[in-house]
Every structure is written in structure tokens, then in C-alpha cells.
């Protein structure tokens, strides 16, 4: 009996330890909010740093110089917090999406883990800053590392978005083919076929834009212009989204004509 009570207490202790993990686990939308907050804080710190530099220019005292160092360090910490929040969000976004293949999820997870370790190392560098010279050197080092921290995760995030875009395009294509098969069996189908042709045209545009986005995302690498390439990929996918929505509208119109019996 004593043994049973002991086991029960053990199980309860484990439950108590594990429960908070489940209760307070972040969702991807909460992680996104944290990133937005981190961005806002980062901008505030940058404003404080600019003000400190202006104060020093007006009154070059040692106190004002020290203020530049302190606010500069805050800027660097905030920038690292911002990257960390973005990486956490990207990881959760991939984890929560059941459509994303395991291969892409694992790649994002590995990138995030590796870069979170790098962020910790950079934080130690910021801790060691004592004067303006060290602040300048660390700042330059951070600029170099900054893109490195983001490039891998951004490239794999792009791959994830391309995969989702391709999946949607496949769905549109499948529905277009099904509706066409139904329409071809109808006598009065001219208008329906016209609608389906328009849908197909928009779908082809979407597929072209998704392919272009894929090319851009694959170039999100160091050396290069990773953030510009990432932004280009996003632009192509945004256009592809518009094409897919147009295609959907034509499909829906064709569907309504089919269920009403033709023209």
C-alpha cells in the first residue's frame, strides 16, 4: 500500500512539473506578437541611442559619452532579441502547419537552433563592451553576423511558403479539371468553358510566379543580398496569391453556371 501511495505521489510530482509547460506553451500567433513587440522595443532603443549621440554632440562630457555606450549596448541587445523572436516564430509557424513536409520542418528547426546559439555568443560580446571604440567594433561585427543569423531560416521559410503555394495551385488545378469534365458532358457549356479557360490562364500565371519565388528564395544566401532576395520571393508569392484568387473566382462562376444547368 505504501508503495502505491509513493508511486502516486511520484506521478503527481511529474504532473505538476509538466503541466506548466503545456499550459504556457507559445502558439505561433503569440510568437509573432512577441516579434512585433521586440521590433517596437528595438526602434525605441534606436531612438534613445540617437538622442544620446545628439546630447554628446551638444555637450561632450564623459557622462554623455557613457550614455552613448549604454544606449548603444541596449540597441544591440534589442536587435538580438528581435532576431531571436523572429526565429522562434518561424519555428512555431512551421511546427504548427500540418501541410509542411517534415524535411522542411527539420531544416527550419536546425537553422533556428544553430542561430539561437550564435545569438547567445553575440550577447556575451555585447556584455563585454566598455567604451565607444568597443561599441563600434562590436556593432560592425554584428552587422556582418546579422544576415547570417537570418539567411538560413529565411530561405527555408521561403521553401515552406512555396510548398504551400504549390499545394494551393494543385487544388485549383484539380477543381478546374473536375469542373471541366462535368461541363464537357453538358450541352450548353460555352460560357462555362470560357470561365474555366480563364481560371486555367490565371492558374498558369500563379504557377509561373510561384516558380519565380522559388528561384528568389534559393538565392537567400551569404554572400549576397539575402533580405532583398527574400523580399523578392515574397512579392512573387503575393502576386501568385492574387492569381489564385482570380482563378478561384472563375471556378466559382463556372460552378454556379453548372449547377444552374448551363447558360
Amino acid at each position: 500500500m505504501k508503495n502505491s501511495v509513493g508511486k502516486l505521489i511520484g506521478i503527481l510530482a511529474v504532473m505538476l512539473l509538466v503541466m506548466p509547460i503545456f499550459a504556457y506553451a507559445l502558439t505561433s500567433s503569440e510568437a509573432r506578437e512577441e516579434w512585433v513587440d521586440a521590433k517596437r522595443i528595438s526602434q525605441e532603443k534606436q531612438a534613445a541611442y540617437t538622442e544620446a549621440k545628439l546630447d554628446y554632440a551638444a555637450e561632450p562630457t564623459s557622462e554623455n559619452e557613457q550614455l552613448i555606450v549604454e544606449t548603444g549596448k541596449d540597441v544591440l541587445y534589442a536587435a538580438l532579441d528581435e532576431v531571436e523572436a523572429w526565429l522562434n516564430w518561424k519555428q512555431l509557424e512551421a511546427e504548427e502547419n500540418s501541410e509542411v513536409p517534415d524535411e522542411i520542418k527539420e531544416a527550419i528547426e536546425d537553422d533556428v537552433k544553430a542561430n539561437l546559439d550564435k545569438i547567445e555568443a553575440l550577447r556575451t560580446d555585447v556584455d563585454d563592451i566598455d567604451n565607444r571604440l568597443e561599441l563600434g567594433i562590436t556593432y560592425l561585427k554584428m552587422i556582418g553576423k546579422y544576415f547570417e543569423l537570418l539567411a538560413d531560416a529565411a530561405r527555408n521559410t521561403g521553401a515552406m511558403w512555396v510548398y504551400i503555394g504549390e499545394t494551393r495551385a494543385d487544388q485549383v488545378s484539380e477543381y478546374e479539371q473536375k469542373l471541366r469534365a462535368t461541363a464537357e458532358e453538358m450541352d450548353d457549356n460555352t460560357e462555362i468553358i470560357e470561365m474555366l479557360d480563364q481560371a486555367k490562364e490565371e492558374l498558369a500565371e500563379a504557377e509561373t510566379n510561384i516558380a519565380k519565388a522559388k528561384e528568389e528564395y534559393q538565392q537567400v544566401r551569404i554572400p549576397g543580398q539575402p533580405l532583398i532576395k527574400f523580399s523578392n520571393g515574397n512579392s512573387y508569392l503575393t502576386i501568385a496569391k492574387g492569381n489564385l484568387l482570380s482563378s478561384y473566382h472563375y471556378l466559382n462562376q463556372a460552378y454556379l453556371l453548372i449547377v444552374s444547368g448551363g447558360n
Partner: protein
């Protein structure tokens, strides 16, 4: 022994209440968001989208709008599937990293 079991029972109950409280809040929040989203979707029915398209294509199908649920069996694709597709396309979002590179 009964006292021990009673105390353990109370601990389990309290633990469950503590663990479930935040989860409940999250579910409530999600329900509210889903309801809001549903309102948005309902306020933009696919018929409106089709009206835009009609203007573009010159089709006038005001009298042709059928009761889709009644006759959807004549098509291999349902209105529900098409609406679901639209919703999934609209959910696609691609955010830049501008803030980080500034």
C-alpha cells in the same frame, strides 16, 4: 490512509484547475477570433465576388443564382470545397524582414 488519499485527490483537482485555466482562456480567445473570422467570411459571401466577376465578364446572372446546396450534386466539386479553397488561399501571408534590416 483515507486522509492521505483525500489530500492527494485535492492536489490532483487543484492541479487540473490550474492547468486548465490558461488553456480555457486560449480556447475562448480562439473561439472569439474564429467567430470574428466567420462574420467576415459571412459578410463577404462568394456571391459578391461573383458579382464583381460578372461586371468584368459582362455576365448578368442575378436571376440565374441557383440554390447551390440543392443542386450541387450535379457537379464533382461542391460549393463548400470552393469556399474552403478560397479561405485557404486568403490565409497565405508572406512577411518581409524589413524591420530587422533597418
Amino acid at each position: 490512509m483515507k486522509k492521505v488519499l483525500l489530500i492527494l485527490g485535492m492536489i490532483v483537482l487543484i492541479s487540473l484547475l490550474i492547468a486548465c485555466a490558461p488553456a480555457k482562456q486560449t480556447i475562448t480567445k480562439k473561439t472569439i477570433v474564429t467567430e470574428k473570422e466567420a462574420t467576415v467570411i459571412n459578410s463577404e459571401p462568394s456571391a459578391n465576388d461573383d458579382a464583381d466577376l460578372e461586371t468584368e465578364t459582362g455576365t448578368t446572372s442575378e436571376t440565374e443564382q441557383p440554390s447551390t446546396t440543392a443542386s450541387s450534386s450535379s457537379s464533382a466539386v461542391s460549393q463548400e470545397e470552393l469556399d474552403q479553397l478560397k479561405e485557404e488561399i486568403e490565409k497565405m501571408e508572406f512577411e518581409d524582414l524589413g524591420g530587422l534590416s533597418e
